[in-house]
Symmetry: D2
Subunit: 367 residues, 4 copies
């Protein structure tokens, strides 16, 4: 992406399709520069590559290091109004230091000490939390306290007020996923503060949203219309785990259901539309049986994977990593991805796929 | 509807908007008749009433009598190819003896003796079974055996092969709901036979469809597209019951969720769209808390209600009935309906509402 | 359909799948009758045929005879409040004298004498007018006067107030198409009267609706949302004619566009959705080049065709007719249809196809 | 946007919500940097502003200067394979020299000398041409030659092969609009070359696409399904002009239709869906009557306006310009826009609004 953010000096390179250097050409290019213009013919290779060439690069972040830095932040950085959250974001090495996992996705570890509150606010960015370990925090979404426990996916769709509070005597950390880089690029960010502390400090096992909506195939007659976001505030691990087990069992019995041999996967969905949980974000849980290996697959759009359990090998583009619980892998657009495991592997995945599908820009290549 | 199916003899009635009787008019009307024509002006009151005036009438059928006749049919009528099903349908008193609960809906009691098979077939009519009592039968839908138990809703969407077999030593009866009258009127019925006996005679607790699809808010990644019918073969009572309980508990705690005071209701839905279980049929379960009474409500489209549990009073149009377990009440289009109970009441409901909503012909009036 | 409207006496016929006659069976059937019940096994052949067997039959009505009877009605029958319209409907010979072209479609000739008004009303039935000859009448839809001329299709979607007035010194007749039989069967008819005369008696060449909406691919920014009905009040013959000519010219040049060789066709559409003009009715214009012959085609759902120009042969089911300007042919559900012409033929067609497509009950077989 | 692309040095700024500087904090921040992490609390003001603060700035480009530089490019820069197009793009002063009008939109002047060909290629970026003056070029889209004339909007949806050739003895210039910056950011660019010259060198007045699709409210029966892009290759000025005139005439007669007093506007639409012409781009034409002035309006998403005819005043954010034929104004996300004219003004507008609407991120504020 260098040429696009540098001053234009195209006359140096008379490659294919480029005019020969000359004084007249220099003058023309100075004219462009003076008028805030840039010719296509010097930039087209960058702007219109044969296949996607995203600035983001494949990378892995290790959970144990993230966690230690989060703990240390707990010692040094207060959480409260202004900074809002004790969250530490992955900064893709291809994105110039910006706190962006990819050009669309934000992934961060958030850390809350015992009895702390993260203050209430709302924003147009869509958000979720995924819990790789720990418990004891309730996220309160529009006044509804939602327990956070290992394996759960918690939603905070855009423009819903939310705060977190730790009810326990232990710190807790989790993964925050948002579309911050996308919304930042698009210029569609709105933000509003609420109270400094969450109002409802009760600690129910199930949120009110779950009690209304998390029954399989059932919806309240009082709310018949489609909703832009899933109303299921929390997707509980017990259900996700059971659904993955069922797929692998069906495969063993000779029936369809899995994505490919030894590879079960469920998508978290909006029960009022059947679509993704939020308009910009897809969330899925994948389970590889021991010995399974996925076909190489590339798709338009970027993704972040987090190991939930087990150990395995991840191949992204030219890179290979062995990953274990909590590790985070970033997969840029169109980078081939293959995953294998000897002993079994559970992975959480989130991506920006709904954006591409809604805009007819999606494309997938397998094998 | 008499005038529409009788020979036209309009000259007798010179009401508002009607021409005066005369010999010339008689000749004109004979000319119409000879040419297979009917004038609007003699029929408009029937064809274009101020508000819907359906031919179907409110009526109640008592489960105990249905069941006794079904048992007797078990003695006298074999089940097998040709007759296909030992099903006995409600014949609305306004519909001239046709086996139609309303002009769109079919409701029947089906009865299967120990070890019997209802042969495999498929048809474009959409079908479901609802179980008010008993167990021991598996309905096999496209080769997938689905257990039937009290409180369960089982789907057989159009053009899916299905047969039933009773694995137990006891007879079983249940409610069949279909869109037979609608499809009959519309001329869209196709039918095909399959094997005389169901192939897969296993008796699993959960169907394969449930194992893939009946996890709250989760769908298999391998099946990402919307489906015209719900893939959830069985909606189990334990989930329905819990969802209704949750709504009433939320109401007691001061939160929204119920339809109106003391009246919880869930709609069985297609998790791939959020819409109704099948394109022509809506299915819901309602629970009235002790002492509750619904507001009078009329809507375009007809419905059949079956008491699942408890006792209550049902008011439809000018009629009032006390109803108890298994009783079936037919509510014609635009007939006001109100239900009350002193001791609590659970009701299953199905209707043709999706037809009207998809065609922008729906209308509702409450109170 | 006889057995469905007659008293049930099934014991007479012990065909395949039927129990043997006996006194016990007679008693059982009497029990059914007493309880308003009908067994499936005696009715299944009628209710669940292998392929659709609609009650409506293929038939042709001749425009010259319709027109003469309409003229005579003009002499004898006033138009005004109560009778509402001087419209004379096709009564399908299979539908027992009811004024229904098919079980869903209404087709009538409407006749208005010089200077007459048909009073303002509205109803939930969807309606259109198609003009096979003449001019001079304005139909006023929600206060917007719409000129009627040969070849034009005029819309009056459900629940829009409308009246007609003849501004000329000559009578005018046209085809009315509605979904009256469908709405009648479904119990969804509402009706309301407006003024006895149309308010706006101006006679503009173009309606306001056309000025806003009848520009190709352009829509007013002030009205960005989808509408259930097309807002184009009138589809003018000059556009329809040009579009058909363009298709046949493209075919001659070797490019796609026609339905099949020598057969051009356009569908009137809702520019805010791309779908049909109204939720229950499809309208199309077809042009056969001289010597063209369509492939035999059957589809679920019924249609009415009116010859707009030329002469041809129509084959429906087992029937064959030579048809000419104004003649009306009724095609029941699933009846094979083939049309040919030596000299060229223009045909208007309307059908109930949108109902089937929205309910996933559509099916087509060609050849 | 500086902090996001600079190395993180947050310890310098202990603002609201920021921890006090300290050696420990420095060490923590070095740890973040080593691990490719960035804390939210130092970046939140940039990432989550109260209201959108896009990097793009309001700016105007003058057509006469663009045109002179394009002419000069015609002298010095050949058009052909490699550089592909003689197109010169607006480089927003807030976007660091990249050839982006806004962070999503590309706007360029393209220039073709007499008898030149721009070679055939295709790409996933959606494109259109708008002609502010001149004629003589045909753009050939998937083999279909489309004439370009003043006032016309020509579409080249993503992944359609296209080339241009100038059939005349005069040069021609026009506006190219694409979603290049969006697709670049999203990593979804694919590109493929076709022949070096367009194949079909005929010069028809109307394209085949127009002959099939540009009839008001009519669509070919042979193509019944929705299409992601409008199949109307060219929206001709005569239709656009007439539609705008009609709106202003309706306003003078007291009827609805205009956006606001004196302000007519049409949206170019996809006749198969009623939606925008392409999934990422909206295109509209606006006409202000003499003396008209629009209400200040801000909306999420960015736009480019080009004066088609007349003279007026444009206010964007804190900037004011007098604009005339061909001038281009860039309106960043959420910047208030007001336009006025004494003598009448026609403006073409394109924007990224469909992206926001499909993702439920749209927001509008008027007045």
């Amino acid at each position: 992406m260098t040429s696009l953010s540098s001053p234009v000096s195209p006359s140096a390179s008379a490659g294919p399709g480029q005019p020969e250097p000359s004084a007249e050409l220099d003058a023309l290019y100075r004219g462009f520069s003076d008028e805030l213009l840039v010719p296509l013919w010097t930039e087209i290779g960058e702007l219109m590559p044969r296949t996607p060439s995203p600035a983001a690069r494949p990378h892995v972040w290790r959970w144990d290091r993230l966690f230690r830095l989060a703990e240390r932040s707990g010692d040094l950085v207060p959480v409260g109004r202004g900074g809002e959250r004790r969250a530490i974001a992955l900064a893709n090495p291809g994105l110039g230091g910006a706190p962006f996992a990819t050009s669309t996705l934000w992934a961060a570890i958030q850390y809350l000490k015992p009895r702390e509150d993260a203050p209430v606010h709302r924003h147009t960015q869509n958000a979720f939390r995924f819990v790789v370990e720990g418990e004891g925090v309730w996220t309160v979404v529009d006044g509804d306290p939602v327990a956070m426990r290992r394996g759960d996916l918690l939603l905070t769709p855009g423009w819903h007020f939310h705060g977190h509070h730790n009810q326990s005597d232990r710190p807790m950390a989790w993964l925050d996923g948002l579309d911050i880089p996308f919304v930042h690029h698009m210029g569609s960010a709105f933000f509003e503060t609420g109270p400094d502390q969450v109002g409802d400090r009760s600690a129910p096992d199930r949120s009110r949203a779950e009690r209304l909506w998390a029954h399989p195939g059932l919806r309240p007659v009082a709310r018949p219309d489609p909703l832009p976001n899933s109303p299921i505030a929390a997707y509980r691990w017990e259900h996700t785990d059971a659904a993955l087990d069922d797929q692998l069992a069906l495969e063993r019995e000779g029936h369809p259901g899995v994505v490919e041999p030894g590879h079960a996967a469920v998508r978290f969905s909006n029960p009022t539309t059947g679509g993704d949980v939020m308009p910009t974000l897809r969330a899925e849980m994948h389970r590889l049986a021991p010995g399974a290996r996925t076909a190489a697959r590339r798709e338009v759009g970027s993704a972040v994977w987090q190991v939930f359990d087990g150990t395995g090998q991840v191949h992204v583009g030219e890179r290979d990593w062995t990953v274990t619980r909590g590790d985070l892998v970033v997969v840029p657009s169109w980078a081939p991805l293959a995953i294998g495991t000897d002993s079994g592997l559970d992975l959480f995945r989130f991506s920006d796929s709904p954006i591409f599908e809604r805009l007819h820009l999606d494309r997938v290549q397998v094998g």
